[in-house]
Amino acid sequence: MKKTLKILALVLSLCMVVACFAACNNDADETLTDGNVVATDGDAADVSEDVSADAGEVALDYSDIKVGFIFLHAPTDSTYDKNFMNAVEEVQATLGLTNDQVIVMSDIAESEACYEAAMDLVDQGCNIIFGDSFGHEDYLIQAAQECPDVQFCHATGDSALAENIPNFHNAFASIYEGRYVAGIVAGMKINEMIENGEFTAEEAKMGYVGAFPYAEVISGYTSFYLGARSVCPTVTMEVKYTNSWFDIDAERTQAIALIESGCKLISQHADSEGAPKACEEYGVPNVAYNVNTTDMGPTTALISSKINWAPYMTYMIDCVVKGEAIDTDWCGGFNTGSVELTELNTAVAAEGTQEAIDAAIAAFKAGELHVYDTATFTVNGEALAEDFQADVVPDAAYTPDTDVVLDGYFAESEFRSAPYFSIIIDGITAVVEG
């Protein structure tokens, strides 16, 4: 027995070593390139400007396209990835792509696993690779530098403009506009409750369960709050963080804590059913994100704002088919169909809400409405200075580098698709740790 085991072990170790060197020879030509990283400072490029080089190919057919998707979690487990998967299925059906042309890898961690997954997709012949999580960015950049002929598109990232790698692109949507509209729905509901004598206008307080004290979250709840305050001037808001993107228990606990501290309505920027279900239990109206929660809270769910990724996915595929360059940094909105609101739960919403939603969306589409109008909010009692700078170009020290106040409003997502509004405005109480 022991002798056989020894022999077996020896054979296996030899196999391992031989496999190492066999693999060495096969792809010895792949070396890690150092990639010239040029950081731009000062003026960030205009979002619509094409910094990326032309793909340089003759026009292709849809049958020549192979797209690889890298998801952080399995779409069956996480509503965040489910939202991307729905878009993938929609785009695949619309463009008539086969399952061989659309490869989805899920449960890819924000580590070298992402780089390996991206390179594996390259090996399988993908022309476009799409990553869905913020932490995938560094690894996608590494893969993009090594494979200049493949287009890498990354949702929610913030480095493409600064890195200036021709085949690496960021994309996001002006979801803050969607949240503003959802905020109007919330504000109208609060007005209705005040009119019904449930509480006074001075007691009107909303609660918000956020994931992390991070620009994307701060930008989101500020727009939600401003939307609500545009119809209910006395409303205030308290924010609590869960320090996780997906934590059912923490989201539930924070929602209940907010309700018990007197919040009359709850919204959240976190991906689980924790908060909506807690609201249904306590009979408190709720505004959700990305998924329609009416089935979880038939008597409390109002509406959800959501990002629809299908327009961007279609756009990136079309660009490669036509041989055109993909925008380095793309930001969708109501006009592109990237920002949407789910169906209003009329059983809960106040009278006339749908009309208000339609009017606000029309104003956004026409460019007449700006969420962060500096006339509508103050910071420590003062209006935002006209020369206020935000940290648009990512750096370790978070140096403010760009004038973002234009024509009397804070121009969110205009210098970079990923949000950079990270100011706590008056009326919002948020505990910021760290």
Partner: protein, 368 residues
Amino acid sequence: MSHVAPHMEPPVRLSKRDVMPTWKGILVRIAGILLGVALSSLFIVLVTDLNPAEVFTSLFDGCFGTPRRIWNLLQNTAILLCISLAVTPAYKMKFWNIGAEGQVLVGAAATAACMIYFGNTLSPWLLFPLMIISSLFAGMVWGMIPAFFKAYFNTNETLFTLMMNYVATQVIAFLITYWENPKGSNSVGVINSATKAGWLPYLFDKQYLINILVVLALTVVMYIYLKYSKHGYEISVVGESENTARYIGINVKKVILRTMALSGALCGLAGLLLVSGSSHTVSVNTAGGRGFTAILVSWLAKFNPAVMLLTSFLIVFFERGAAQIATSFRMNESLADIITGIILFFIIGSEFFLNYKLNFRHSKKKEG
């Protein structure tokens, strides 16, 4: 006790087997795997409309399809093997160390700290030794805390090491709030991506080769340590019976502390290989559950480091293959998990039948 009629004995009775010839043992194991494959094929046919042959082809394709996949397979095997080797001395001593996850994490955090704070100031000749010492030391401390309480206060090491995992996770989560980039994103990102300071070198342009070679060397050393050294002998004796160990003059407390120091330090080494040799970042998921899988690897191999080459390879093979099945057929990962589960069940089951036999009531066979 009421009297029981002799013919009322239970229909099946277990009895310990004599040692089986090696060739027979191997045959039983192969039969176990084949039965597992057959049952999973049946499951695939019944539950999905896929062709089992295609599913198993995809399993192999996911592991051996391209040179890159072979490298990934070897790298993942190496890391799992490293952690399995680390927990083995403790288990051989019957010290239930289920805290490898935490010990790997603190080792990873120590490595990341060196890379972040000293990466761009120290020369590589100082930086690498510093990283090695601090990761080994961090893992060692994490392993010795429960060992100390076990040795001097006879606390329950299973609960203690388990709880140390949660403490380690929280420590990392806390450190990430200092290291995160950008602020609030809860992600550290690639450390020293521009300078590559503190990254283990790529041998022959191969990123993972150094990890694989280090772990292979460690396997040999661990084999010799457990089998031929005095320490190894003491570990076996303490594992068999603490009283015997005491009787023959072994200092049990010292052996427990020393062995857990070794076990923890090697987990710290795995943390070093993970951060400096592959991911170049740190998160609460850096260990990724391997601290627990390693226990399975170690026990399946009956604490023989050479056999662990095989068992760790087997586990990683199914893991990688399963991921490929999920991707190729756009199936939920659950299908792959079920297949892996069935086959592992049969592998563990064949170990059972190697040690025991079933005696049926009507069996005419005489028992020895």
